[in-house]
Amino acid sequence: MAVMTYREALNLALREEMRRDPRVFVIGEEVGLYEGAYKVTQGLLKEFGPQRVVDTPIAESGFTGVGIGAAMVGLRPVVEMMTFNFALLALDQIVNSAAKMYYMSGGQYNVPIVIRGPGGPAHQLAAQHSQSMESYFYHVPGLKVVRPSTPMDAKGLLKSAIRDDNPVIFIESETLYAVKGEVPEDPDFLIPLGQAIVRREGTDVTVVAYMGMMYRAMEAAEELAREGISVELVDPRTLRPMDVDTIIASVRKTHRAVVVEAGAGFAGMGSEISAFIQEQAFDDLDAPVERVTGANAPMPYARNLERAKTPSKERIMEAIRRVCYAGSV
């Protein structure tokens, strides 16, 4: 185990997989000479050269399509979206080409591509540069969607994504790149896609959260522990395929659930999680599944408005208290 930042963990995962498999290459804006807008690809050009670390013009659908074509004939591209906000320009390629190729071709052409980069709320980047992007992907059959919350997950899941034979959408966060944590150096360390993890064991209520919201929910849990409320915190890590079993098992134990989400709440990830919990654990539930989500508005620039846009620790705590006291009286 070594302690490193989330950014370094991603960088290490890329290096290890590029060393392991000559078919793996990195392509995107500023990934080479500039070493990445967020320095995730630092040093890769130096080690692997311009053929495998490819700087592109600003043409998201063009270079994503290049990745898809290269993947169809046997390469394993890792396409960097400088930020996932720009992935909408490539969404047709991702949804209509990458996600469907294997199916449309009757199993002849799979597309082993990883599309990665930061997404989600950032700091005062306003409406077009600060938004939760996973909702455009997790509904799509043929795609896998990963949201890694910790340095260890970032490494273990990115390596699995690169080795996966399907298109994987891997959404990091600008706000987590500097987070430090323990990371196994073993180049064979992998975390399988589709496995949630229990971040904190508890008995009174299950809270489901990922990325920045996972950390905020953890703070809420620690604080509520002092009030005598025992929170079990589950981080799905992969949104598609979703590890339904781990979440349901936890709810069967706690009988209560709160889903926290940074993005706009209407028809978000929390909606699906809430829906399958009540479907599969209906008789175990002592209270409705509550959702604590971002406001249904674009992201404002002003600092105070931005703060109000995403769920605060206080709002998470209130929701947890509500579901814990509901039904118990």
Partner: protein
Amino acid sequence: MAQKTEARKAPAPAAVDADLARRLLYDMMLIRRFEEKAAEAYALGKIGGFLHLYIGEEAVAVGASSVLRRDDYAISAYREHGHCLAKGSDPKAAMAELFGRRDGLSRGKGGSMHLFDRRVNFLGGHAIVGAHLPIAAGVGFAIRYEGGDQVCVCYFGDGAVPQGEFHEAMNLSALWKLPVIWICENNRYAMGTAVERALSQTEIWKFGQTYGIPSEAVDGMDVLAVREAVGRAVARARTDKTPTLLEARTYRFRGHSMRDPAGAVYRTREEVEREKQRDPILLFRERALTAGWLTAADVRGIEKDVSDRIDEAVAFADGSPEPPVEWLMTDVYKEG
């Protein structure tokens, strides 16, 4: 993976002999017959959805494919039956795909717009106009990455030119020197939209000049002219990875799809009749007879072989069962 192969020479497009003439005529007639029979099957309800016929444009696919190797790649849009057959696919499996049967090229899951055939490196069959151009650039990227000497031929319509992905793909292939041969099949209409109502620059080949790549217009009704132009482009691509933009001037004799049978709202009957005089099959057949490459008997023989082979394809498709219903959920994800 883009196979590295000992650099077999592609046939030089020079002299025409009986053998070549037979092959070209046979392939064009095979496609024509395939399409005619597909139209019949569609009318009988054996084929569903959209059906876009290639009738009138056969010289482009056949001329181009005649200078390709089996390990070269081809990719196209949704009017791709001809490109797929010309690349070497089995008409039986192609027809079965149109019928939506289990023995179809794409196991019945793709249909007319999504023919794929790994056996001959035919990469589909894409129905979002413009979307397969960046994918073709990616195939060229992979060839260069692997150090192979194959090429990728990308067929697309005049309707794809106003689309942003055309520009992005041209620039990337020129900037990175990717061995892609861009063949724009300019049949003068995108559905009901004439080229001059879609583009401020109707000489499509000229776009290539801006990106600094070799570009030319070619008579898409003359299979030998297409063969020569593509032959030159393939040579450039194999040796120094230069991409090329070819504008093949052609015409679709039928409507946009079987749902637009007349195709007469946006073009006159006279225009269609005039263009039919340029039928690439009639033209080449005449030429082959006058040049003495083929005899009338040869031509009759080809006609017979072709129609037998397509009848067989239809019978095969008809006899192939529907896919098992479990296949609804297979091929969604590839298991590691």
